[in-house]
C-alpha cells in the first residue's frame, strides 16, 4: 500500500470513529441532545464516504502504477528519516520542558542540538543563553506569564525576579 494510502486510511478510520462515538454517546447519555449529535453525525458520515471512496480509488490506482526507481526510493527514505529525527528533537524539547521547565530546557536543548551538529561550545552556549533570555524577557517580564518550571524541583527558578 502506498504511504499516502495510510494517511487516507487514518482519515477514514477517524471519521468512522467519530460516527461511532456519537452513536455510543447517544446510548450512554440519554441527554445527548439532537443539537449535540446532529452535525457531528452528518459531517463524520460525509467524511467517511468521501475518505472511503478516495481510499478505494487510490488503492485501485496503486495496483496499476509503476514502482519508482530505487534511487528515488532511497532518497525519499533518507528524507523521511531526517523528518523523523527532527520530530524526535522537538518531542525531546517538550519532554525536557515538562521535566525541568522551559528556561533550563531551552539552554540545554539548543546547546545539545548545535553541539551534535558540530558547532563549538561558545557559539552553542551563546545562542542558547540568548534564546533563554529572550523567552524570559518577553514572556515573564513583558507579558507577565511565568514560564512553566517543570515537575522536578529546580532551585534556580526561585532566584528569578
Amino acid at each position: 500500500m502506498k504511504p499516502s494510502s495510510y494517511f487516507l486510511l487514518f482519515i477514514f478510520l477517524l471519521a468512522i470513529a467519530a460516527v461511532g462515538f456519537v452513536f455510543q454517546a447517544r446510548g450512554l447519555r440519554p441527554d445527548y441532545t439532537f443539537k449535540a449529535r446532529f452535525l457531528p453525525l452528518v459531517v463524520a458520515s460525509i467524511l467517511t464516504v468521501i475518505a472511503g471512496a478516495s481510499l478505494f480509488r487510490e488503492l485501485r490506482r496503486g495496483k496499476t502504477t509503476e514502482q519508482s526507481p530505487a534511487s528515488e526510493t532511497t532518497a525519499e527514505a533518507a528524507s523521511e528519516k531526517l523528518a523523523l529525527v527532527t520530530g524526535a528533537w522537538l518531542v525531546g524539547y517538550m519532554v525536557l520542558a515538562f521535566l525541568i521547565g522551559f528556561l533550563l530546557s531551552t539552554l540545554i536543548w539548543i546547546t545539545a542540538y548545535l553541539r551534535t551538529h558540530n558547532y563549538g561550545w561558545i557559539r552553542s552556549l551563546a545562542i542558547s543563553l540568548g534564546m533563554m533570555i529572550f523567552l524570559y524577557v518577553v514572556f515573564d517580564l513583558v507579558f507577565g506569564i511565568t514560564l512553566y518550571q517543570g515537575v522536578l524541583p529546580i532551585p534556580i527558578y526561585s532566584f528569578l525576579p
Binding site: I50, S79, L82, G87, M131
Partner: protein, 500 residues
C-alpha cells in the same frame, strides 16, 4: 457606528505611539521571515499569534497587518535577486525578475516591483474602502439564516482550495469541522469528544491548530531542505542602484495599462473566496504577455513580467480582506489566518462585524496602507542586510523556531497538555503537507465550525426548517451545490462525451 465615524476612529490607533513602536520591529520581523525562502509570511503570522493573544484588539490587528506589510516586498526582492520565491505568491516574478538581475538590471526590477506593488495596494485599498458602504447596504438584507448559508458557501469553497483534488479539500474541511466539534456545544452545553478530560472542555485552541498545521511542518521541511540558501548575482550599489530603481518606477508609468489590468484582476480574484493570490499572479502575468508587443521575449527579462504579477499580488489583499470582513468567508489562505486571529481576539467576522466593529475594519485597511509604505522604504534600505539573512544556516533557525512554536502554543492556555495536542496536530499537519492535503481547508473548517453550528441552530429555532427556503438562502445553497458538484460533473460529462 456609521461609515465616516468608522473611517476616522479606524485611523486613530495608528497615532498611538505604543502601536507605532511595535509596528516597526514587527515589520522587520515580517521582512526577515518573508525573505527566507520556505518560511514565508504564513509562518511569520503563526509565530506571532501567541503574542497577539496577550494584546489589546487594536494593537494586535496593527501588529498582524504590519507583519505582513514588509513580508510581501521582501519575498519579491528575494525572488528577483536570488531566483527563489520568498513565498509561493512571488513565483510568477521569477521568470522575468531573475533574468533582469542576471543582466545587471536588478535595481530596475526592484524599482518596478516596488512602484507597481505600492500603487496597486493603495488603489485597491481605496477601492475596498469605497465599497464598504455598498457592502454594508447589501449585508442589511442578510439575517442569521443568510449568514449560515454564507458560511456554507465559504466551506464549499474549501474544495477549490484543494486545487486539482477537490476531494482532498473537502476532506480537510470536514476534518476541520470534526476538530471544531471538540468541546462543549454552545446551544446544548453538552461536551463532545473530550474523553473525560476537562482540558478539552473549552475545545481545541485555534492557536494550537495553526501552530500544528503550519509551523511544525514548516520547521521540519526547513531541516529537510538543509544547508544555506544560495547567494545570487551581485546587485548594483549606490547611485547606480537608485538610478535603476527610478527607471523601474518610470516603467510602471509607461506600462500603466498592464498595471491597471493586473490591479483589477488581483482585486476581483481576491474578492472571490478561496481562489487566492496564486491564481491572480498567473492571470496577470498571462494578460501582460498576451497584450505585449513582444510576447516571445517574456521569460528573458521583460519588466512587464515583474510589474504584472506583483501588482496583482498586492491588489489581492484588499479584495480578500473585503470578503473576509463582510461575510466571514476568507478570500485566501492568508485570510484564513487573519480570520482565526479575529476569533482568537474575541471578534466574530461576518456581516455583523461591519456594523459592530466598523472602526476595526477600517483600521485594517489604514494599517495596510501605512505598512506598505513604510515596509517598502525599509526593504529598499535593508536590501544588503537581507541578502545576509538568507545565508543563515538552518541549524540556527530550527531550534529558535521550534522553541517559539512550543512555548507559544503553551502560553495560550498555560497548560502542558496543549503540547500533546500540538504534537498530534503537528504530525497531522506534516502528513497533510507531504501528501498534498491543504491545511488551509482544515483551518477554515475548524474556524467556521462553531459559527456555522450556532447560526444553524438559531435559524432552526427561530424559523424552523423553512429558513432553508428564504430567497437569498436558496440562491446561496444553489451556489454551494454548483461549487461542490460542478467539477466532478464536468469531468464526468467529458468522459461520457469521449466514450460517445
Amino acid at each position: 457606528m456609521d461609515v465616516w465615524q468608522g473611517l476616522i476612529h479606524g485611523f486613530l490607533p495608528l497615532l498611538n505611539p505604543f502601536n507605532l513602536l511595535l509596528l516597526i520591529p514587527l515589520m522587520i520581523w515580517g521582512m526577515i521571515v518573508g525573505f527566507v525562502p520556505g518560511i514565508g509570511i504564513m509562518v511569520a503570522w503563526v509565530l506571532l499569534m501567541p503574542f497577539l493573544a496577550q494584546m489589546k484588539v487594536e494593537t494586535a490587528l496593527v501588529c498582524l497587518i504590519g507583519c505582513g506589510g514588509g513580508a510581501g516586498f521582501a519575498g519579491a526582492i528575494c525572488a528577483i535577486l536570488i531566483g527563489i520565491p520568498g513565498e509561493d505568491t512571488n513565483v510568477a516574478t521569477i521568470p522575468d525578475g531573475y533574468p533582469m538581475t542576471k543582466k545587471g538590471q536588478a535595481g530596475r526590477a526592484i524599482g518596478a516591483m516596488c512602484t507597481g506593488s505600492i500603487a496597486a495596494g493603495l488603489f485597491s485599498t481605496l477601492m475596498a474602502i469605497l465599497l464598504i458602504p455598498v457592502v454594508m447596504w447589501i449585508v442589511k438584507f442578510c439575517g442569521i439564516p443568510e449568514q449560515c448559508a454564507m458560511i456554507l458557501v465559504g466551506v464549499s469553497f474549501v474544495g477549490v482550495i484543494g486545487g486539482r483534488s477537490p476531494a482532498k479539500g473537502l476532506m480537510c474541511g470536514l476534518l476541520g469541522f470534526l476538530l471544531g466539534f471538540v468541546g462543549y456545544q454552545e446551544n446544548s452545553g453538552v461536551a463532545r469528544y473530550i474523553f473525560g478530560d476537562a482540558f478539552l472542555y473549552g475545545g481545541v485552541s485555534v492557536l494550537t491548530v495553526i501552530m500544528g498545521l503550519w509551523a511544525v511542518p514548516a520547521v521540519i521541511d526547513l531541516i529537510k531542505t538543509g544547508g544555506i540558501i544560495q547567494a545570487g548575482y551581485d546587485i548594483p550599489r549606490g547611485k547606480v542602484l537608485w538610478q535603476q530603481m527610478l527607471e523601474g518606477g518610470k516603467d510602471v508609468l509607461r506600462h500603466w495599462a498592464v498595471w491597471l489590468r493586473s490591479v483589477i484582476i488581483g482585486f476581483i480574484i481576491g474578492v472571490i473566496p478561496a481562489l487566492g493570490a496564486n491564481t491572480a499572479i498567473w492571470m496577470a502575468y498571462g494578460q501582460a504577455a498576451k497584450t505585449s508587443k513582444h510576447p516571445e521575449l517574456f521569460g528573458t527579462g521583460m519588466v512587464e513580467g515583474v510589474i504584472a504579477p506583483e501588482s496583482a499580488r498586492s491588489a489581492v489583499w484588499a479584495g480578500a480582506a473585503l470578503t473576509t470582513l463582510s461575510f466571514g468567508i476568507p478570500g485566501s489562505a492568508g485570510m484564513v489566518i487573519i480570520l482565526a486571529a479575529f476569533i482568537m481576539l474575541g471578534i466574530t467576522p461576518g456581516p455583523t462585524m461591519l456594523f459592530e466593529h466598523t472602526d476595526l475594519c477600517f483600521l485594517l485597511y489604514w494599517t495596510h496602507i501605512a505598512t506598505m509604505t513604510v515596509g517598502l522604504i525599509m526593504c529598499l534600505l535593508a536590501m544588503r542586510l537581507m541578502m545576509r539573512i538568507v545565508s543563515l544556516k538552518v541549524d540556527y533557525l530550527f531550534p529558535i523556531i521550534g522553541i517559539l512554536v512550543t512555548v507559544g502554543a503553551w502560553a495560550y492556555s498555560q497548560n502542558m497538555q496543549e503540547l500533546v495536542v500540538l504534537l498530534v496536530l503537528g504530525t497531522m499537519g506534516y502528513l497533510m503537507r507531504k501528501f498534498g492535503y491543504p491545511a488551509a481547508a482544515t483551518l477554515l473548517g475548524f474556524v467556521l465550525c462553531k459559527i456555522f453550528e450556532r447560526t444553524f441552530y438559531v435559524s432552526l429555532d427561530t424559523f424552523g426548517p423553512v429558513f432553508l427556503l428564504r430567497p437569498i438562502v436558496l440562491v446561496l445553497l444553489a451556489l454551494v451545490v454548483y461549487v461542490i458538484f460542478s467539477g466532478p460533473l464536468t469531468v464526468g460529462m467529458r468522459k461520457l462525451l469521449r466514450r460517445a
